[in-house]
Symmetry: C2
Subunit: 120 residues, 2 copies
């Protein structure tokens, strides 16, 4: 039996920042949920576009040619190859859509890199 | 320059029910927005899973083995091959994620079928 997934309830199940949890899969993509706060690392994805939908709070997407503010109920799509650095001054909750092959730190291996992303 | 897409603002730009508008594209998928009210047609997609995220209101996803209620801030993923019939008693706003190849009425050609889906 199929079920509805409540985004807020899923986000309430974990506390860690910058540690996306898988909340669904369709076709070759994962729907992921994450809590973010502070600054991530500059990175890009060679082959994958990436969607960030803000569920709660505000995301600043730093790009090499300027910043884009993404508020609640807004999304931004970062095309493949485009360097970006997500920043959230206060805690922000986001939904991500990424191909299953995507590593969240893209071309950069850092202490932030999580390779074994769990379901929530 | 990349831009944030405000979902509510995009939805305010059209009135028609059951007429999805494309609001973004990533990889081989479209992000679509739709206003729905009433009953859609029973259909399935042979090769594509489909995501329905409720932005406003309530969606009833009728399935052959029962109904699933999907409220605001919730999503449901209907796997390929699964017959479904979206119903909304009152007007409901949804975000869809679908492969670009997806026809919204799936295997069924009906008066509801829109083949030339515009951007919003």
């Amino acid at each position: 039996m199929l079920e509805a997934v409540n985004i807020a309830q899923k986000l309430a199940k974990f506390d860690e920042h910058w540690s996306p949890r898988i909340a669904g899969e369709l076709n070759d993509c994962y729907i992921k949920l994450a809590r973010i706060k502070g600054e991530f690392v500059w990175h890009h994805h060679d082959d994958e576009d990436e969607l960030f939908l803000v569920i709660k709070g505000r995301l600043t997407m730093k790009l090499r040619d300027g910043d884009v503010e993404v508020g609640e109920g807004e999304f931004i799509i970062v095309p493949k190859g485009v360097e970006h650095k997500p920043v959230a001054e206060d805690e922000c909750h986001i939904m991500l859509l990424e191909p299953k092959t995507t590593l969240h730190t893209g071309n950069v291996e850092s202490e932030r890199t999580v390779t074994d992303q769990p379901w929530v």
